[in-house]
């Protein structure tokens, strides 16, 4: 049995789809973190079969909209004094700015690249997002 020390104050990013953890680990730049980080891959999970977990022993700020886009099934536990004080269940964000890129070559954002690309959720079940400018849809899966 793998044993990892409890964290004092920080975050536990749990229920990450197995294999996706490395993306989140890299996105958060945890490879160069000056504090303790535990990255567990392929942990046993009742719900998912296998999952990845990231434990961060530091209070860091995370853009939950982007995290939700990467994997909407993630749970984030906020730890204070070794106790869970808050459980944040992620979902697909209603609005995403500067993360997804429109693939429609006729979209104005393909030439006017200085404007932030904004997408709005149109179908949560299908994970569909609509480009604010040209209405072309993209699947959140494309981001993963």
């Amino acid at each position: 049995m793998l044993s990892i020390d409890k964290i004092k104050n920080g975050l536990v990013i749990d229920h990450i789809k197995a294999g996706q953890g490395i993306r989140i680990f890299n996105w958060l730049g945890l490879g160069k973190a000056p504090y303790n980080v535990a990255f567990v891959v392929n942990a046993t999970s009742e719900h998912l079969g296998r999952k990845d977990i990231i434990k961060i022993d530091n209070e860091i700020s995370i853009d939950f909209a982007v995290l939700g886009l990467i994997d909407p099934n993630i749970t984030v536990n906020v730890i204070e004094n070794e106790k869970i004080t808050e459980k944040i269940r992620l979902r697909l964000p209603e609005r995403v700015e500067g993360v997804l890129k429109c693939r429609n070559p006729r979209c104005v954002t393909s030439t006017e690249t200085y404007v932030p690309q904004v997408f709005h959720l149109v179908n949560e079940n299908a994970g569909l997002y609509r480009c604010e400018y040209c209405d072309e849809t993209r699947n959140a899966e494309d981001f993963r």
């Binding site: 006017e112 400018y133 209405d135």
Partner: protein, 307 residues
């Protein structure tokens, strides 16, 4: 109140606001002389990054008939866009010279982007294959004027329903009014996209069906909206030869239509309506162009706050 508002897509205005706009357009059409000084001292910039004779002239005629002035360009080659200027900078600069901007741009979403950088109202005069709201207002205004309203009508769309943005916008526009039925007549290759039928019509509970031959359905229509079918849109020559005549409106097909049906077309037409139909009193496409100018006059007067 439409003063200072942008118009990017038809749904930017409520049904009640559109109704007010049409009433104003009717007042202007009835007594145009009363409005010839309404916009004196105002300047409309017509920024056409894509050639369009009809829409640009309609906007300029509307502004001139209101006593205002126009400036702008008719093709990107004569604008600073050809030097690599961003759309944002062009719009910001022009907004210093003009009181309103009418813009056509081949890029989808260009008008929305322009609104983010303009201190004066922006009217979308067409953004690629996306929106063309003043054409939709023109079409609705024509139907309202000639049919007494836009509810409880059977409207047929015929031709290229896949790529025709005017068809998409008008179908969506009609879905805001109750009791309309829509019949889409097109070859298989040019069927109306699902996002119109599934997302707009089904959601609003609008009854519609799809057919392949105009002569089979023309007798039940109150309004026939024609568009051009281009040969190059067909996948094979055989289908084109089999179906091409079905999408050409001629005197023979008009015999099958109701006595009070009206024929609309966003123009320019090529050969999809035979010239012999022009003299039929049901041919309303040139009246439609006139209504287009009046509705643009009403729009300019409203957003400039002089109505």
């Amino acid at each position: 109140m439409l003063k200072g508002r942008h118009l990017v897509e038809p749904r930017d205005f409520s049904v009640a606001e559109i109704e007010e706009l049409f009433k104003l357009a009717e007042r202007i059409a009835a007594e145009p002389g009363k409005w010839k000084e309404a916009c004196r001292g105002n300047v409309l910039a017509t920024l056409f990054f894509e050639p369009s004779t009809r829409t640009r002239l309609s906007f300029e005629a509307a502004m001139l008939r209101l006593g205002g002035a126009c400036l702008g360009f008719a093709e990107p080659g004569s604008s600073s866009a050809s030097k690599g200027e961003s759309l944002a900078d062009t719009v910001r600069t022009v907004a210093c010279y003009a009181d309103a901007i009418a813009m056509r741009n081949p890029k989808e979403g260009a008008a929305l982007l322009a609104t983010r950088f303009s201190e004066v109202p922006v009217i979308n005069a067409g953004d690629g294959g996306h929106h063309h709201p003043t054409q939709t207002l023109t079409d609705l205004m024509t139907i309202r004027a000639l049919k007494g309203g836009y509810s409880g009508l059977t409207v047929g769309f015929c031709g290229d329903l896949k790529f025709g943005r005017t068809v998409h916008s008008l179908a969506k526009g009609l879905s805001r009014y109750s009791g309309n039925k829509i019949v889409f007549v097109s070859p298989e290759e040019l069927r109306i996209p699902e996002y119109i039928t599934r997302d707009a019509l089904k959601k609003e509970g609008i009854e519609y069906r799809e057919e392949e031959r105009l002569e089979h359905v023309i007798g039940e229509l109150d309004v026939l909206y024609m568009t051009r079918v281009q040969k190059e849109r067909f996948f094979n020559e055989e289908d084109y030869v089999r179906l091409k005549d079905s999408y050409i409106l001629d005197a023979e097909k008009m015999k099958l239509a109701k006595k009070d049906m009206i024929v609309l077309h966003p123009l320019p037409r090529v050969n999809e309506i035979s010239m012999e139909v022009d003299s039929d009193p049901r041919a309303a496409y040139f009246k439609q162009a006139k209504y287009g100018m009046y509705v643009r006059m009403a729009l300019l007067a409203s957003i400039l706050g002089v109505a």
